[in-house]
């Protein structure tokens, strides 16, 4: 019996935690990954696209990689080299790209996958929401083909790049707002959950000990990613982006609430804040499944399990 597969597009700005999110996504048997699309964020578009190609090669993901917009819809680009290094994915050596970059843009690639798919498509967007926002604006006829947009971004309680705004949303608040009002099902992993998704050094030593080539790279990504986080006072690595994958696959280990969420576009201190109507004050219907908590131990178990699926792979 063949399992009915769930078509998936991975959109991101890798980035260490994007990369680990994709390691997890590629390990999920029911996922049929159709394309990888890139967006400027953690580093410039050229760098994250090269990183995406190298991650695809590492994971033997023989799917098109399409380049997205080099800048947000209307803002200046912000990047995060302090977290991810000059390459955007500093740390371990990675295989060179196995295939070239698609001639289609990320938006056209997403549209093509949506158009050609019989099943509704899940978009996992772990960077700024620029490509997805542009897709919704320019291909409104394809909205119904989207199963859910699962994002890492925002935070109902707090931000990280400003006190009120999280990095991915702050980079392109307008794109996030376009998702909020699109009517497409949204699932949001904000800092509320991702800052609880802490992986401690002893956890990633278990991953390293698996010994397979992917697990080794993942452990070394953790080593690098943790350098800046530990300077900020974190005792482990906050694994933001994999939440957007695992909350789809194992929702039972997450605390998920239906809220009306809207991204603030103005404000002196709150631009890019994802504002949630927790008390139902606005009278607006919930537009978002907001993931606000998780069972950390089980999260780590699933992460290790995902890395274990690469056992038996040869070192390249």
């Amino acid at each position: 019996m063949t399992m009915k597969k769930r078509p998936v597009i991975l959109d991101g700005d890798p980035g260490h935690d994007d990369a680990i999110a994709w390691v997890v996504a590629a390990s999920v048997p029911e996922f049929d990954i159709k394309a990888i699309t890139t967006v400027a964020g953690n580093q410039t578009l050229a760098k994250v696209t090269y990183n995406a190609q190298r991650i695809a090669a590492l994971l033997h993901l023989d799917v098109p990689v399409a380049k997205g917009r080099p800048v947000p819809l209307m803002s200046d680009l912000i990047i995060a080299p302090n977290f991810h290094g000059q390459s955007g994915l500093d740390g371990p050596q990675l295989p060179e790209p196995a295939r070239g970059v698609s001639p289609l843009s990320a938006i056209e690639m997403m549209a093509k996958v949506l158009r050609e798919s019989e099943e509704k498509v899940t978009i996992i967007a772990t960077g700024p929401q620029t490509n997805v926002g542009a897709l919704l604006l320019t291909h409104p006829e394809l909205k119904d083909k989207i199963e859910v947009i699962s994002t890492m971004g925002g935070g109902i309680r707090n931000g990280n790049w400003t006190p009120a705004a999280e990095f991915n949303i702050l980079v392109d608040p307008e794109a996030s707002y376009i998702e909020n009002v699109s009517g497409v099902p949204l699932q949001m992993c904000g800092l509320d959950v991702t800052e609880q998704a802490i992986v401690y050094p002893e956890d990633w030593e278990k991953i390293r000990a698996l010994g397979n080539p992917v697990a080794k790279v993942v452990a070394e990504w953790f080593d690098f990613f943790f350098i800046h986080l530990s300077e900020l006072g974190w005792k482990g690595a906050t694994l933001h982006d994999p939440c957007a994958v695992l909350s789809l696959v194992h929702p039972e280990i997450f605390d998920i609430r239906d809220y009306y969420v809207i991204t603030e576009l103005g404000g002196q201190y709150t631009r890019g804040e994802t504002v949630a109507d927790v008390y139902g004050i606005t009278g607006n219907k919930p537009n978002c499944r907001a993931v606000v908590g998780l069972d950390r131990e089980k999260f780590v178990d699933y992460l290790i399990e995902a890395c274990r699926t690469y056992d038996g792979w040869e070192v390249e």
Partner: protein, 312 residues
């Protein structure tokens, strides 16, 4: 025992009345002046209520000044549905026959602060218009304020006015923004802690059944608010929002919090009146202007306020 000199600025409402009735009777505090600002109800009502509550407590000697009639810029907002049209939930109370005090709240507050040469503590439990007016009129005012203890804002939860703003800050967001940038040392009692500082219906009953006039008033005044809370599904409780800063001055050990920086949003589509803190965020504003209270020993509060109200 040397008493701590305190000024209270209030938009006297129901929970303000509970706070004032604590303040007058705490042996640690000396209430040196009162001012009324618009907020829970109109200035006319808050001014009358402040005077009447002082008279009920036998403190007609404390001057009560009129403050701002409306916020700086934002549209005036009141909350009669919580506090009743009169602001005291329709409770019967005798009107004060004390002579009225001349002058603006901000002038009197500044004079008192200067007179006490840096020892004055201020409790502000309504919109911050009067405090901000004092700051803008008297640039050296912040130097004379030991501590400004406010009930207002919220750091880690939703607002109770719009999605993110608490009522007192939303009452005058621009004035609040001015206060939080003034350099005054702020001790903030936001919804984070004030929603934990409540009396149950049974605890209110113990007080209101005591038999003195103050306790009788508390029973009458709180009935409407508690009924509303019950309707909203929050339980039949009376939140002692405004009592928190008063109790803190006498008993700081009841509360615990963290130092952080708070700014007030005055722009944006959804953010007006949000108290944006850097408490939980990697990004910091730079300075620390606020001790944000986060936890309370509720049992200790209940015991103390019951004793206080019964002692009238």
């Amino acid at each position: 025992m040397e008493r701590i000199p305190v000024w209270i600025d209030t938009d006297c409402g129901v929970d303000d009345a509970l706070a004032l009735l604590c303040a007058f009777q705490l042996p640690e505090l000396e209430i040196t002046g009162l001012s009324a600002t618009a907020g829970n109800v109109t200035l006319e009502n808050t001014y009358r209520n402040t005077r009447d509550i002082a008279a009920l407590a036998g403190r007609k000697d404390i001057p009560v000044y009129k403050g701002a009639e409306k916020p700086w810029i934002a549209a005036p907002r009141t909350s009669e549905y919580v506090h009743g049209t009169d602001g005291l939930g329709g409770a019967k109370i005798a009107h004060s026959d004390a002579p009225e005090t001349e002058g603006h709240a901000w002038d009197a507050l500044y004079s008192k602060a200067k007179e006490l040469n840096g020892e004055l503590r201020i409790v502000a439990v309504g919109p911050l218009t009067d405090i901000a007016n004092t700051i803008i009129k008297y640039p050296d005012f912040p130097d004379y304020v030991k501590e400004l203890c406010i009930m207002g804002g919220v750091l880690a939860g939703p607002g109770n006015t719009n999605m993110t703003a608490e009522f007192n800050i939303m009452g005058d967001p621009h004035a609040a923004a001015c206060v939080f940038k003034s350099g005054i040392r702020i001790v903030m009692f936001g919804l984070d802690v004030t929603l934990q500082t409540y009396l149950t219906k049974e605890e209110v009953d113990v007080i209101s059944n005591t038999g003195n006039d103050v306790c009788r008033l508390i029973g009458e005044a709180t009935a409407k608010t508690m009924a509303l809370y019950k309707t909203l599904g929050l339980g039949e409780i009376m939140c002692m929002h405004d009592s928190c800063p008063v109790l803190y001055l006498a008993h700081p050990e009841f509360f615990s919090g963290k130092e952080c920086c708070v700014r007030v949003e005055t722009g944006g589509e959804h953010g007006l009146g949000k108290t944006v803190s850097d408490l939980y965020s990697d990004a910091k504003f730079g300075d620390k202007n606020t001790l944000a209270m986060l936890k309370v020993d509720r049992e200790a509060v209940v015991k103390l306020v019951t004793d206080i109200y019964q002692s009238y």
